[in-house]
Structures are given as structure tokens and as C-alpha cells.
């Protein structure tokens, strides 16, 4: 196949798909006001080198909860999507897809990260921990235990993210004070408004992790 043919082929494919990387980037977090940008999304307007067709999959290896997982992903897929819809780890919750609510918080290299704002490809090579990874078999871990004891949730939808944020906080700082807890937990929204109980739960989790007042 000549270079020209290749180029033509790529362009044709782009046109059929009607999407480009710019289109993808533009699509992040929109959804409602899409008509207005529809006309801008065409392959012709972009320099060739910019084009990376959506739909093409590439193989990534993710280290999730201590297990190696090989997955075929589109480059644009978020870690949250891959964890939930390809690996079945639905404890990680989508809430906004734009890094505002923290429901999808996981640990990457032990640090809380929004999985909706992390591409699966970016997460290669790092240790990823989801809420499922805090379990010891079927037994819940100390942060989860503390959340149950202190009733630090209502609907429970933001809870996985809250638990992971608390886990990340306590790994970095085993005995946080109230202001540290409030600051570190402020990236996770709870519309049911259970923050006061969450503060108590993080304090209790800190005790549990340090071996005070029960299980480690």
C-alpha cells in the first residue's frame, strides 16, 4: 500500500467514524451541548499527525489489587470505565466523569486518584488499588469497618471513593487531626451530607489501623 493510499484510507476511516482525538477531547464532560460542536468534528480540519482513531484497541497491562490484568483498551478509555466495565470491579463508581466528585477514587501507587480523569493507558506500571482490594477475602478492612461503625454513609454511592480517600490519607498520615481529615477528604462529595460521620469514621479507622480498639 502506498503512503498516499494509506493516508486516504485513514482519512476515509476517520470520516466514517466521525471522530478524532480532538473530538474525543472535546467530548469529555459534555453530553448535553453536543449539537453546537458537531460541525467542528471532522477529520479534515486536523493535521494528519494528530489523528488517532477511536475504536482501535491496544493492549495494556494493569496491576489491579495485586493481580496482573491484560486488557484490550481504546486509548481514550478511562481507568474507571475499564475497571468497571472490563474487569467487573463495580465498587469504583462513576459520578461526574470530570474529576469533581471523587466517587471513582482509587489508589494509584498508594495515592488517591480520580479514575475518571486517568486513562487506563496512563495507569500501566503502577499499583492500582480499588475498594475491592481493601478486603481480606470476604472480610472488610479497617477503614470500611470504621465507616460501618460510625454510619459514615447513607445511600452508599460515594462511599467507595470516600473509603479510598481515607485509606490514602491514612497511609500517608497514620494519625491525622481533624483539619487534616477535613482537607484530605474534601475532594469527595457526599450529597447525603454525611461528612460529620465521615470525620468520625476516619478518626476511628486511624485507631483501628494503629491497632487500638480492636482489629488491626
Amino acid at each position: 500500500m502506498t503512503d498516499d493510499r494509506k493516508k486516504q484510507d485513514t482519512q476515509d476511516r476517520e470520516r466514517r467514524r466521525g471522530v478524532t482525538r480532538r473530538g474525543f477531547l472535546g467530548s469529555l464532560g459534555t453530553g448535553a451541548a453536543t449539537v453546537a460542536v458537531a460541525s467542528q468534528v471532522s477529520a479534515e480540519q486536523l493535521p494528519e499527525g494528530e489523528q488517532l482513531p477511536a475504536g482501535d484497541v491496544t493492549r495494556v497491562t494493569l496491576d489491579v489489587n495485586g493481580r496482573r490484568r491484560d486488557v484490550l483498551v481504546e486509548p481514550r478509555w478511562s481507568l474507571a470505565f475499564v475497571l468497571r466495565d472490563k474487569l467487573g470491579l463495580t465498587g469504583t463508581k462513576p459520578g461526574c466523569e470530570r474529576g469533581e466528585c471523587g466517587a471513582c477514587t482509587v489508589l494509584i501507587g498508594g495515592v488517591p486518584r480520580y479514575a475518571c480523569m486517568t486513562l487506563a493507558m496512563e495507569a500501566q506500571g503502577a499499583e492500582i488499588t480499588t475498594v475491592e482490594g481493601l478486603m481480606d477475602g470476604e472480610a472488610i478492612g479497617p477503614v470500611q469497618q470504621a465507616f460501618v461503625e460510625k454510619d459514615a454513609f447513607q445511600c452508599g454511592y460515594c462511599t467507595s471513593g470516600q473509603v479510598m480517600a481515607a485509606e490514602g490519607l491514612l497511609r500517608a498520615n497514620g494519625d491525622p487531626n481533624l483539619e487534616e481529615i477535613r482537607t484530605q477528604m474534601s475532594g469527595n462529595l457526599c450529597r447525603c451530607g454525611t461528612y460529620a460521620h465521615i470525620f468520625q469514621a476516619v478518626g476511628r479507622a486511624s485507631e483501628l489501623k494503629r491497632g487500638e480498639g480492636g482489629a488491626s
Partner: protein, 773 residues
């Protein structure tokens, strides 16, 4: 079937079945052993481990992902939708719009008019225009972008304060007035003002607030031939079943709606969504299950709101603190259809003794999405005006705000035919709350020294809620296995309020079993009993008596079987810790598993019905909330230092989950007072400019005090229902914003009467006062 009384928004537009009266007589509880304790939730494990399956988590073989294209202008008619490019895109299996043959769903537009799912006449931004199903959500959103829509755009009006001006764009063909004002009058308002020593008049405004639950609205729809199963994030599976069956012209028995877990609703998830219908139609068209979860932007835009309210309140008081007259005039909007003023005047009509009251509620249409019930519809708006006015009156007659309120406590329900309350703990909420908050001491400290630019202040507000007593219908079924273990079957959703936990505690109370060992089946129209949606702070007072009745049926059967085996009279027996004991001396007679007839039968079934409420009395929860703030008068920033929520919600069934509800209501109210506001671009586009959580700010961990106290006032109430409980969910957020406003006014001496009290507004008010000095 019958219509329920007006105001029960959680069953609005639906017919609900009557339930028979409970068969077994129920005496009120005196002391309880399980009920009331601060027990962790029976489903806590599922909710913290990630094993709870929310509708967003449901995944089925061959499942496709749906997405909805929404109207991009504030007012327009869709003249064409070209889906040809979208249909040919990779992974796309189906596209539907008003211009494809698949839109055969009809839904009520108003009481009299029905429209198809995709109505080309879009009177606001966000109306559904088309929907797509594809292999991945990414491909579905790609396809949306390839759909070409042509609009005949029309002028718009997005501010209800301008909608009735001459020349305003017409939202509906008949004009922008949503009908005649609704007027309520008692006594003689003119005489009331004449009798007053002080008359004050003030204008208040509350901005549009949006529910934004953490789990997005959405569902998974799956067809099996002519049967449809929907896993929906909903507060009421039976509401969704009725909505879907009605829209698709299907028998109820062919629509099964499952809603075991759901990630928050606050009133925005009481009904079948247009996304539900779109998912069902797409699943039909593609012959594949379809998951359709809306986007966060759409959740801020298109699935309801607490509409803005513009209120003018005139109040008269005598020097001794006697209220003589209240006159509230309000203008609200339900969006492009319906009314938004419902219950805005309820606090003014009900909470304080006042012989002369007049309210007038007007509504108009604007090009904005329709409102939906939102945690105490109308009440936080009304409380914002009334509770600030009471502080202003107290100030004018130099009386403590609590003393003024306590002086005017209503002895009967003035808004409801002057019927007496089954219980009214409002005085205790005020007095005990003030004592626990150290109200007087704190005010004395502040009066002694509030120098410097950081000003301390305390404020409080009262509240009540028009519903919250619950009532029929409800049915619960309890199955007792031969080993004494138990299965509870009920239709109610647990929307995060701890319904499952409380019901397990009710069963445990009567049958002496471990609440954590009870298996619960709930919120599934295919397998569980009828329950109205979980909303209106009525789930516990509605469901608990039905569950208790079912437990008592089991107990009666069980003791009859044991009595026959022991050859004694059943009245001499009691149940304790899974054992049949002597009622006289508690001596152990027989373990449940040793009852031979039970072993032979395998299990017993008890059916419980929710009995009627007393007809001659009114059931109402009450609240008083107290708040301390520190205001930086140089920057306008407010720090809310502590909160105390004193609540008469009758018997507290579980102190831990109830406290959580109270704090949650306070937190939501803090957002209402301080940050939350929908912004429509009124000049250029009419579109919402802050449809994300970055620009529409709900409270974070930084915005709420860690120092929160819940003070339950538990007046004995043997009449409200057979467990003595009233609602907590909505009362918890009704007084909050007004309490914050009163605290800020106490701290600074200036009063901001429009929500949200942002630093700009507060600084402006402070500057205006300085200029005036």
C-alpha cells in the same frame, strides 16, 4: 383504588391501592429493647465493600450503552433530526428520535395532554431529542455528536421575575401565567395589622436548587419477549412500573422494576424517567439489553430542581410578642409547565399561632426544565422568609428570638382545620435545644466582646413539615423458617435512610431475633409487596406499622402452635431470644425450632397491613436548629462553627441512622444558604451556565462543621401510628438555611435576604451599612 389527599407528592398523579386494616391488635410500645438503639446498618457490609449492586453497576450479557441527545437551545422546535451518519458509525446499533418510527411511548405532559417521548416542541434546554445505543458509552456519545438537528429557535424568557412583563417571550401558547393565584385567608388581615405594635415588611428570595444525587439517574432495560425488566435508580419501584407500563401501553404485570440499591434521590427519582422510556425503546429496537445512565450535566439540567421563590412577607406583632398578622405573597415558577409555589406558604400558615393570615401564591412559566419535589417542597423557601422575619420582629420589640417563637406555639393545626396534633414537641425543640446549645450563655459572651473583623454570631430557626406522618397503603410479609430465622418482604426502597435496618429492628423487637440475621427482600415489583415511593419523610412511619403487624401475626401463629404442643393457653406464653417462654416468670419452655408443627409446615407466613391514621388529629414533625458562625467582615467569608438540630420526630427508631439523617439535612441546608444556585444566562442564550459540580457548588467536607449535635425530642405519641414514629428526612433541612442567615445577621448586624449568602453579597450589605452610618 383512590386518590390520596393533596400534598402527598410522592404519589402525585398515581392511584394507590387501599390496604385492609391490620388483623392483630397492636398496643403502643412502652419500653423497647431493640428499637431506638444506635445500631449500624444491616446492609453496611454491602455498601462499604463495593458488593452492593446499584443500577449503574448492573451488567448483562450483550448489553449496549445508551445516551441521549438533548435540546441545545432554550426554546425551539425541532424541525429535523438526521441520524443517518450516526447509524453508520462503529458500534452503533440503534438511533431513535421523533422522526424515527420507534417513538411509540406516550407520556403525560400535563393532566390532560400526552406527548411522545421526543416532543419536537422543546420549551427548554435539555429536552430529549434523540437517543442512541452502542457497544460502548464512548461510541454512543460519538454517535450523538454525529446527529444533525435543525431547530426553529424562538425567543426565550429564563427569569420568572420578567416572565409576566409585557413583551416577554411566550413560553406556552396561553401566555406565561400558570393560572390564577392561589389565595388562603383566615381571620381579618387588616385588623391583624391594625392591632400590631410593630409591622415589618421584607422581600426574600431563594434561588433554584438542584438535587444532584451522587448516582446519576438511569437504568438498565431488558426485554424477554413481551416482558420488560428495568433496574432503575429510583425511590419507588411501583411509581416507575406505573409510569413505564402507562407510557408503553403494557400490562403492569409485564413490567418488572427492580431498585435494590440506589445512590440518592432527594425527590428527583420518584418517577419513571424519559431515559427509562428511551432505554426500553432502544432495547426493543436493538433486541439487546440497554444501560442508559444520564450525564452529570444532564442531571443538573434535566431531572428536576427546587424552583426559585420570590417572597414578600409582612408581619405584625405586639410588644408582648403576640403575633397578630402574617401576609405572604410569593411568585414562583415550575419551569415551562406546572407550578413551583406548592407549600411555600405552609410554614406561614401553620407553625406559629396567628389568627390573621393571608397568603397568595402566583406561578408563571419560564423556559427552564420542570421542577420536581425536593426534600420538603416549598418548606425551606417559606422558612427562609418566615424564620428570618421572626428574628427581625424579635429584634424590633427587643425580645429573644426563642422567647418570641415559644410565645406563639400553635396548639392546633391552623392550616388543617384546627385539628389537634397527635403530639407537638416544638416547645421542647426550642427550649431544650437552646439549653443544649448554650444559647443564652453564647449570646452573652458575644454581647460582651465581638471586636475585631471576625464576628461571632448565633442564630436559630424552627420548622415543621406538612407530611411526615405516613399512612396507608403498605403491605409487608414475614416468613418464619422452621429454624426460627426470618425473611422480610416489603416493597419500600431504602434510599440511604436506613429503611431496611429499621424494619429489621421492628421485626427483632417483636420476635426476639438478631436484626442482622433477617434476610430482606425489597423494592422489586416482581417479588415484593406494594409500597409507595420512599419520599416525604414518611417511609418509617408508613412501613414500620405494617412490618410490626406482620411480625405480630407470626408471633400469634407461633405461640398458638407452641401452646398446642405444651397444652397450655397461648396467652400464658411469650417470645424471647428465639425461645418460647412463660409470660409469667420468663422460664424457658420451648425453643422455636422445637415446635413440631412448625417443623412439619416448613415455615409460617405473616401478612401485615398499614392501618389508617387518626382522622380527627394531625401528625406533624417539628424542629428547631441552632447555628454558630464566624464572619470575616473584611472578606465576607462565613465559617459555620457548629450546629445543633433538635427534632421532634416522635420515637427515634435508630438513633445512629436518624442522627445521620439530621446531619445530612443540615448539610444540604448549609449548601442552600451559602452556595447553591442555578444560573441561567438570561441575556444571550437562556441556557444553564453552571451545569457541573465545579460551578454549581454543593457542600464539601470543608464547608460543614464537625461539631454537630443531634438532640432528639421524643414526646410520647400513641396515636400517630402503632410505633410512635414521625418523619425526619425533610424536617432536617427545612429550618437550616434560615438558621444560618439569622446567625450571620446576629454576627454582623446586616441581613442578606436572598440565597445564597456569598461573600460578594455579604460584603455589599456590610458596605451599604457603613455608607448609611
Amino acid at each position: 383504588m383512590r386518590k390520596l389527599p393533596e400534598g402527598l407528592y410522592y404519589v402525585e398523579g398515581l392511584e394507590v391501592p387501599e390496604t385492609p386494616e391490620p388483623r392483630v391488635a397492636q398496643d403502643p410500645w412502652s419500653d423497647t429493647t431493640v428499637v431506638g438503639r444506635p445500631l449500624p446498618r444491616v446492609d453496611g457490609y454491602e455498601r462499604v465493600s463495593g458488593t452492593a449492586v446499584y443500577p449503574s453497576d448492573v451488567s448483562l450479557p450483550r448489553m449496549l450503552y445508551g445516551a441521549i441527545l438533548r435540546c441545545s437551545c432554550a426554546n425551539g422546535v425541532v424541525t429535523s433530526v438526521d441520524v443517518s451518519a450516526a447509524e453508520g458509525m462503529p458500534g452503533v446499533h440503534g438511533v431513535i428520535s421523533a422522526f424515527t418510527p420507534d417513538d411509540n411511548a406516550t407520556r403525560p405532559y400535563s393532566q390532560y395532554i400526552k406527548t411522545n417521548l421526543f416532543n419536537p416542541t422543546c420549551r427548554c434546554e435539555g429536552e430529549p431529542v434523540a437517543a442512541v445505543a452502542a457497544e460502548t458509552p464512548y461510541q454512543a456519545h460519538d454517535a450523538l455528536r454525529a446527529i444533525q438537528v435543525a431547530y426553529d429557535e424562538r425567543p426565550f424568557v429564563s427569569d420568572e421575575r420578567r416572565a409576566l412583563e409585557p413583551g416577554a417571550a411566550q413560553v406556552q401558547e396561553g401566555g406565561n401565567s400558570a393560572g390564577d393565584p392561589r389565595v388562603y385567608e383566615r381571620g381579618d388581615i387588616a385588623r391583624g395589622f391594625a392591632e400590631a405594635d410593630v409591622v415589618l415588611e421584607e422581600t426574600y428570595r431563594t434561588e433554584c436548587e438542584i438535587h444532584t444525587p451522587l448516582e446519576l439517574h438511569g437504568c438498565v432495560a431488558k426485554w424477554d419477549g413481551d416482558s420488560l425488566t428495568v433496574w432503575e435508580s429510583t425511590q419507588g419501584v411501583y411509581n416507575v412500573q406505573a409510569g413505564v407500563a402507562g407510557a408503553l401501553g403494557m400490562p403492569l404485570s409485564k413490567v418488572r422494576v427492580v431498585g435494590h440499591y440506589m445512590g440518592g434521590g432527594f425527590g428527583a427519582k420518584l418517577q419513571a424517567g424519559r431515559y427509562t422510556l428511551a432505554a426500553a425503546l432502544l432495547a426493543k429496537k436493538t433486541a439487546r439489553p440497554v444501560k442508559l445512565i444520564i450525564t452529570r450535566e444532564d442531571s443538573l439540567l434535566a431531572v428536576g430542581n427546587r424552583p426559585p421563590a420570590n417572597m414578600r412577607l409582612k408581619a405584625g406583632v405586639r410588644r408582648d410578642g403576640t403575633l397578630t398578622a402574617l401576609e405572604l405573597t410569593a411568585l414562583a415558577t415550575g419551569g415551562y409547565r406546572g407550578r413551583g409555589s406548592g407549600s411555600v406558604d405552609f410554614i406561614a400558615r401553620e407553625l406559629y399561632l396567628c389568627p390573621n393570615v393571608r397568603t397568595e401564591l402566583s406561578d408563571c412559566y419560564i423556559n427552564a426544565p420542570p421542577q420536581r419535589p425536593f426534600r420538603g417542597p416549598g418548606h425551606p423557601q417559606g422558612a427562609w422568609a418566615v424564620e428570618q422575619m421572626l428574628d427581625q420582629l424579635a429584634d424590633a420589640i427587643d425580645m429573644d428570638p426563642i422567647e418570641l417563637r415559644a410565645k406563639n406555639i400553635a396548639t392546633t393545626s391552623q392550616a388543617r382545620g384546627n385539628r389537634p396534633y397527635t403530639s407537638n414537641g416544638f416547645r421542647e425543640c426550642l427550649v431544650d435545644g437552646a439549653r443544649a446549645f448554650r444559647w443564652e450563655e453564647t449570646r452573652a459572651e458575644i454581647a460582651g466582646g465581638n471586636r475585631g473583623h471576625i464576628k461571632r454570631g448565633v442564630g436559630m430557626a424552627g420548622g415543621t413539615w406538612a407530611a411526615g406522618g405516613g399512612g396507608p397503603p403498605s403491605i409487608a410479609v414475614i416468613k418464619l423458617f422452621s429454624d426460627g430465622s426470618i425473611n422480610l418482604n416489603m416493597g419500600a426502597s431504602d434510599i440511604g435512610t436506613g429503611t431496611k435496618t429499621v424494619m429489621a429492628m421492628v421485626v427483632a423487637e417483636e420476635l426476639g431475633v438478631d436484626p442482622g440475621a433477617i434476610q430482606i427482600e425489597h423494592a422489586d415489583t416482581g417479588t415484593t409487596q406494594f409500597a409507595s415511593a420512599s419520599g416525604g419523610s414518611k417511609t418509617i412511619p408508613t412501613e414500620s406499622p405494617a412490618v410490626r403487624a406482620a411480625a405480630l401475626e407470626i408471633k400469634e401463629q407461633l405461640l398458638d402452635l407452641a401452646a398446642a404442643q405444651l397444652s397450655v393457653d397461648a396467652s400464658t406464653l411469650a417470645l424471647r431470644d428465639g425461645t418460647v417462654v412463660s409470660a409469667a416468670d420468663s422460664s424457658v419452655l420451648l425453643r422455636v425450632r422445637e415446635i413440631r408443627a412448625l417443623r412439619r409446615r416448613g415455615n409460617l407466613t405473616g401478612v401485615g397491613y398499614r392501618g389508617p391514621n387518626p382522622q380527627d388529629k394531625v401528625i406533624a414533625p417539628f424542629a428547631a436548629q441552632f447555628c454558630e458562625v464566624e464572619v470575616n467582615t473584611l472578606t465576607g467569608e462565613v465559617e459555620i462553627v457548629r450546629f445543633l438540630a433538635a427534632h421532634d420526630s416522635g420515637r427515634i427508631m435508630n438513633k445512629l441512622t436518624c442522627q445521620n439523617q439530621a446531619f445530612g439535612g443540615v448539610t444540604m441546608g448549609i449548601g442552600y444558604a451559602m452556595t447553591e444556585r442555578r444560573i441561567l444566562d438570561g441575556n444571550e442564550t437562556g441556557k444553564m451556565v453552571n451545569k457541573n459540580w465545579h460551578d454549581y457548588k454543593i457542600p464539601t467536607a470543608m464547608d460543614v462543621p464537625a461539631d454537630m449535635t443531634f438532640l432528639p425530642i421524643e414526646p410520647e405519641d400513641t396515636e400517630c401510628n402503632t410505633v410512635g414514629a414521625k418523619g425526619i428526612g425533610e424536617p432536617a433541612t427545612i429550618p437550616t438555611a434560615a438558621a444560618v442567615a439569622n446567625a450571620i445577621a446576629h454576627a454582623t448586624g446586616v441581613r442578606v435576604t436572598d440565597t445564597p449568602i456569598d461573600p460578594t453579597k455579604l460584603l455589599q450589605a456590610l458596605a451599604e451599612r457603613r455608607e448609611g452610618e
